[in-house]
């Protein structure tokens, strides 16, 4: 797809105009993307394939370009100066005959490395141009213009059990039953009540009296029977302990007899 015309447009159009006027090259260093870019541009001006380029000539052009900038007191980024130093070194290596100590890279090796880097950068630029000149999606190739969306409908499924339902009904029906209850007061004899009653019933007489006969009046009321028996029995034991009365039972389940204690005066 990529034709060289396109490619050149794309690569060159944003480069600053560089021109030779009266033998002096005016180039705006700001227009270059770093020293490698500048070197590549200079190399192209040799109008030969990068393989056949004269690295020595290239280094000299670069260095003189940097010198020009310095003379004109243009500030130069450090990158460019680092490259200048490296090229100066390369130049000396290329011009001075080799001593074969093998440790340091030879001038030829350094030149090959520079060539490699220039070739690689150029290759990437060509690749970028080829890429951008391919038919692109949305420009020359098109996807479906009105894709049909997948519609997801959410269905809420409510969960409730039969028991939940019946309970909800019962609970709220009961909640609404009018609160007109008459408090059923259970009669409970306290021990003190029982003691008072026993004292009253025994009276001043010192005869043995069966307890259930004393209480007969109360024992007939079914709701009081249990409490009357239990409380008065417990109270009577207390009263025996305190020495107010005496208790007697002839045999198991026989009537419980009680009387005022004589000494209790």
């Amino acid at each position: 797809m990529a034709n060289s015309g396109h490619q050149d447009d794309f690569i060159e159009d944003k480069h600053p105009p560089s021109a030779e006027r009266g033998g002096v090259m005016y180039v705006d260093v700001d227009g270059y993307e770093g020293p490698l870019d500048l070197l590549l541009d200079l190399a192209r001006k040799q109008k030969v394939d990068l393989v056949n380029i004269s690295v020595l000539a290239l280094a000299e052009q670069y260095l003189s370009f940097i010198d020009t900038l310095r003379e004109r007191r243009i500030e130069i980024a450090a990158d460019y100066l680092v490259m200048a130093a490296w090229l100066t070194f390369l130049k000396s290596r290329l011009m001075v005959p080799q001593d074969d100590d093998g440790d340091e890279p030879s001038g030829e090796e350094m030149a090959a490395l520079l060539q490699f880097r220039l070739k690689r950068l150029e290759a990437m630029r060509d690749a970028a141009a080829k890429l951008i000149n391919r038919p692109q999606l949305g420009k020359e190739i098109f996807a479906s213009g009105s894709p049909e969306q997948v519609v997801t409908t959410k269905i809420s499924e409510w969960e409730a059990t039969y028991y939940d339902l019946l309970q909800a009904y019962s609970v709220q029906r009961e909640r609404q039953i009018p609160a007109e209850y008459a408090p059923t007061t259970r009669t409970v004899w306290s021990l003190q009540d029982a003691e008072d009653i026993l004292r009253r019933l025994i009276g001043e007489g010192a005869d043995w009296v069966p307890l259930h006969v004393c209480l007969s009046e109360y024992l007939e009321l079914p709701e009081e029977r249990a409490t009357a028996l239990a409380s008065s029995f417990t109270a009577s034991l207390e009263m025996v302990r305190q020495g107010h009365i005496e208790l007697r039972q002839n045999q198991a389940f026989a009537p419980l007899m009680m009387r005022r204690k004589k000494s209790d005066g």
Partner: protein, 233 residues
């Protein structure tokens, strides 16, 4: 000789016409595919050969896609490729979300079930609290509660009842299978201490009652009186 050449010329012309038609069809196909909305065929003209027979092209393209997964269909003034109708299910996904029914919705459902046909204000009477419209909506959306009709009383309130889906969900054969007072007591759901006049109604989810009117087709249950009172509030 002359006749022969004529035939050859005609043959070439026919071949060319076929090729042009095929090319126009491809272009139209691509344009319709890439169009963001149904395409007016006239918009394709600039891309086609002069005097292209649009009707014939659309016809051929429609036929080509007749049995495909995608059909060429007319939409308004334009044409567009659309998924074949019998494959529409491919574009619809359903997700079911299981959620427990909220307490108040459950209570309302229970009252509707037992007391149907029941109006909203009757529901509120039993519950002793105001019933939000949303809860009834949820129950209707769940498919368990329906509007049966309108009570023939002032304000003509909507009456609610349960549906057959309700019976299905709770495993009831008939609405009368709902346990009565004694069964609720027996199950321990109602306590023994109920006032003598406490009653559990026998529910009815069938025909309209005598005091119920059917809903008109365009009656969606908007309640004039309650809307008004809500507006006032």
């Amino acid at each position: 000789m002359d006749e022969n050449e004529d035939h050859i010329q005609q043959g070439i012309a026919a071949m060319e016409a076929d090729e042009i038609f095929a090319r126009n069809m491809r272009v139209l196909e691509a344009l319709l595919f890439a169009a963001t909305s149904p395409m007016d065929l006239d918009d394709a003209r600039p891309f086609l050969s002069d005097n292209a027979d649009l009707a014939a092209l659309v016809d051929a393209l429609t036929k080509k896609y007749q049995n495909a997964g995608v059909n060429l269909v007319r939409r308004g003034d334009g044409y567009a490729f659309r998924t074949a109708e019998d494959l529409a299910f491919l574009l619809r996904r359903e997700e079911t979300e299981r959620k427990p029914l909220g307490r108040s919705a459950l209570e309302i459902l229970a009252i509707v079930a037992y007391h149907q046909p029941v109006t909203r204000s009757e529901i509120e009477e039993v519950r002793g609290v105001a019933t939000s419209k949303g809860s009834l909506d949820v129950l209707m959306e769940a498919g368990w509660v329906r509007m049966r009709g309108r009570r023939r009383t002032p304000g003509r309130p909507v009456t609610y009842g349960t549906t057959s889906e309700f019976l299905d969900h709770f495993g009831l054969e008939n609405i009368t299978d709902l346990p009565g007072l004694n069964e609720l007591k027996g199950a321990g759901l109602l306590s023994g201490n109920l006032p003598p006049d406490f009653a559990v109604p026998s529910p009815n989810d069938g025909d309209l009652f005598d005091n119920e009117d059917p809903l008109d087709a365009d009656d969606h249950g908007e309640d004039l009186l309650s809307e008004l009172s809500e507006d006032d509030a």
